[in-house]
């Protein structure tokens, strides 16, 4: 064998094996620092996205700041890295591992069995173990309030909802929104379109334009990147002399098109991370899903300050008192169950199924 690369790689590999044999053993993260506990975060996308992942990373930084925790972050590329990442953090003795997305849930269950001392928190997950806790953001609570705002502001009595992929959590958000609209305007007609993706700007714009042509003058969305199409369509309709409102979702989108945006239903992911860490430190979590946003300010409806003068004061007051009712547990907006053990959950096929 004259092949060069074998001679190139083989010695390096043997050297590696030899050195590792006399190298230091895997050290626990707490031995390396004075930190009271160690927290890791896994994301499937970059934390520079100013959205879902950025909120999680901000939460991690707040945990570091508040408790002096040792923190670490890994962005995973594909499912093949899930087990590896959990194994690495588990072996190094991390106490709390945030896996920010439901895609991690199967690997998290495996990791939970392997590392009983570590608590795994899966954002939006549906599977539960003693030390594997789904973190559920009850966006329904904010969406219901947004629906009330829409019901109060519509003149035509027609409100549009443009969704991404029709999955039970997303259906729940619209179910609550529609209930909110009808709480204020019982005779309102609510249109619903699912574009089938989260990111198709053109499809979202087309759906909104179609809703507007059918008389809608308030349109809410539940998409990701496609939301720009929603705001564009609403702005164009308003510019053409057809007064129309948009409502943002998931994060504060009030500044994307401030002149036509009524407000946004928001999830404050960083607050949820701090809240669940506090609950974990008090040994209050485990064996059940954790609902963030029920009684705290993690989920909210934020009216757009730029248009506050155009929203009737009594509508704002009504929304405020409903917010209080939801947070005190006096009122629960409707949702679509999708979590193991949740009330109304069925083993095979809750909701309308995918696609």
């Amino acid at each position: 064998m004259r092949s060069f690369p074998v001679r190139l790689v083989a010695p390096g590999f043997l050297l590696a094996l030899g050195l590792s044999a006399c190298g230091e053993s895997e050290s626990a993260c707490r031995d390396l620092s004075e930190a009271p506990f160690c927290v890791a975060l896994l994301t499937a996308g970059p934390v520079s996205d100013a959205g879902w992942y950025a909120g999680a990373y901000e939460g991690l930084l707040q945990i570091e700041q508040r408790w002096g925790a040792q923190i670490s972050h890994q962005q995973t590329r594909t499912a093949s890295e899930y087990d590896e990442a959990f194994l690495a953090y588990g072996t190094e003795g991390y106490d709390l591992v945030f896996a920010h997305g439901s895609e991690y849930q199967d690997a998290a269950i495996r990791a939970g069995e392997r590392f009983p001392e570590t608590t795994f928190i899966v954002s939006g997950g549906g599977r539960i173990a003693d030390n594997v806790v789904p973190l559920i953001f009850t966006l329904e609570n904010g969406s219901y309030l947004a629906g009330m705002a829409a019901g109060g502001m519509t003149e035509s009595g027609v409100v549009g909802m443009v969704g991404g992929v029709r999955i039970p959590p997303a259906e729940g958000v619209f179910l609550a929104f529609e209930a909110g609209v009808k709480a204020v305007r019982p005779d309102a007609e609510v249109l619903e379109t699912w574009i089938g993706t989260w990111d198709d700007v053109a499809a979202a714009k087309e759906a909104v334009t179609s809703h507007i042509s059918r008389g809608a003058d308030v349109v809410v969305h539940n998409t990701d990147g496609a939301s720009f199409g929603v705001f564009n369509a609403v702005r164009e309709a308003a510019d053409a002399g057809d007064p129309t409102w948009a409502i943002g979702m998931n994060r504060d989108q009030n500044d994307i098109a401030p002149e036509v945006t009524l407000g946004s239903a928001v999830i404050r992911i960083e607050d949820a991370f701090v809240e669940i860490t506090e609950a974990w430190r008090d040994s209050e979590i485990g064996g059940a899903a954790y609902y963030a946003g029920g009684e705290s300010e993690v989920v909210d409806f934020v009216a757009n300050p730029a248009v506050m003068d155009r929203i009737p004061a009594d509508l704002l007051a009504r929304i405020d008192s409903m917010r209080t009712a939801i947070r005190s547990g006096d009122f629960d907006p409707p949702r679509v169950p999708f979590i193991e053990g949740e009330e109304g959950y069925e083993e095979t096929g809750a909701g309308a199924g995918g696609g």
Binding site: P5, V6, E84, G126, G354
Partner: protein, 347 residues
């Protein structure tokens, strides 16, 4: 140039390290800490060697062999990525449906299905090349995108988990998953299978008539046909399909050994990295074992840099690429001075 001898590999590793250090320093990261993480993440413990580096090398090894086989015969199969997806879907489906059967039945059935699916995904480019003369680089490359999107559609549609909530399939039944090769770690038996196949392929190239003919056809199909009365068309078709089958096998082995369910975007571009794996090994199947492990180590170490030194994934990707280029440059300089550059040599 001086004839490089024993220090050649050290020169290559040193060059790669130097370039990596510069890249890290430019990014403002703690260079010793990051390099330490790179090392420990790849080789620093039993877990790092088995569960990170060797486990990551398996799909690279199998697709690397697929590419080496095709390139040896002068077939530029750029489609290992798509063939891997085809094999993953076929293997998963058989494993999911036949999950009630004992592992001794269902695992071979899954692997067989993935071989057939990988070959089937290569069949269209094979026919197009041999009948129509269409360049296989184009057809295999385009079919990669078809396979990736078709898989995503299947996972969002007919193969989606029964609740219809998540963008994944239901997990494979226990009997349809590969066992552990190295106890206490995540290294699955697929690694042993891949190494065995590399040895088999090396024996075929080195000692058999078919292996000789493949090399002959690869180096000059016309000459081989005239001199040896070889049916080069039939041989090329066989090699092309076998290459697709090997890449398909990588998909099933990965799903049954690592992911245990189908996720969209299941590959990290292994079918493309495989080209570098095979070329760095100069298309020698035994050397592919080493180069696949080398690439696996780089990826495992890079990932560890994220966790330990806070280097973001984007930088890790850059550093991985720089390291590979550094090694390729060193390999080229070495082979030039050694006087054995040029066409892929016979094993």
């Amino acid at each position: 140039m001086i004839r490089a001898r024993w220090w050649g590999p050290f020169f290559a590793i040193g060059l790669a390290l130097a370039v990596t250090s510069v890249a890290l320093a430019l990014g403002g990261y703690d260079v010793p800490q990051a390099l330490g993480a790179l090392w420990r993440g790849a080789f620093g413990s039993e877990q790092a060697i088995a569960s990170f580096t060797l486990k990551r090398s398996v799909p690279l090894l199998l697709t690397g062999l697929a590419v080496a086989l095709a390139f040896r015969a002068g077939i530029w199969n750029i489609g290992a990525e798509g063939q891997l997806y085809a094999g993953a879907v076929a293997g998963f489906t058989v494993g999911f449906v036949g999950g009630g059967l004992p592992a001794a039945v269902v695992i071979p059935a899954m692997l067989a299905a993935s071989l057939v699916a990988g070959a089937a995904w290569a069949a269209f480019p094979t026919v197009m090349k041999l009948r129509g003369g269409t360049n296989e680089v184009i057809t295999t490359l385009l079919l990669n995108f078809v396979a990736i999107h078709l898989t995503a559609w299947l996972i969002d549609g007919p193969l989606q988990e029964p609740q219809g909530v998540y963008n994944e399939t239901a997990p494979l039944p226990e009997s349809a998953t590969l066992g552990t090769l190295w106890p206490g770690t995540d290294l699955h038996v697929g690694f042993a299978l891949a190494v065995a196949l590399a040895v088999v392929l090396w024996v075929v190239f080195r000692f058999t008539r078919v292996g000789f003919l493949i090399r002959a056809v690869g180096e000059g199909p016309e000459a081989a046909r005239i001199a040896g009365r070889v049916d080069s068309g039939r041989l090329s078709a066989g090699v092309f399909l076998a290459s697709g089958a090997l890449a398909g096998l990588a998909g099933a082995v990965h799903v049954a050994g690592v992911d245990l369910a189908l996720y969209p975007g299941l590959s990290q571009g292994w079918g493309y990295t495989a080209i570098a794996v095979a070329l760095l090994a100069r298309l020698n199947p035994l050397a592919v074992i080493a180069t696949a492990i080398f690439f696996g180590a780089i990826q495992a170490g890079g990932t560890s840099m994220q966790r330990v030194a806070g280097v973001p994934l984007a930088w890790v990707n850059v550093i991985e690429a720089i390291t590979v280029i550094g090694v390729l440059i060193a390999a080229r300089g070495r082979s030039r001075s050694g006087g054995d550059a040029g066409a892929p040599e016979a094993a």
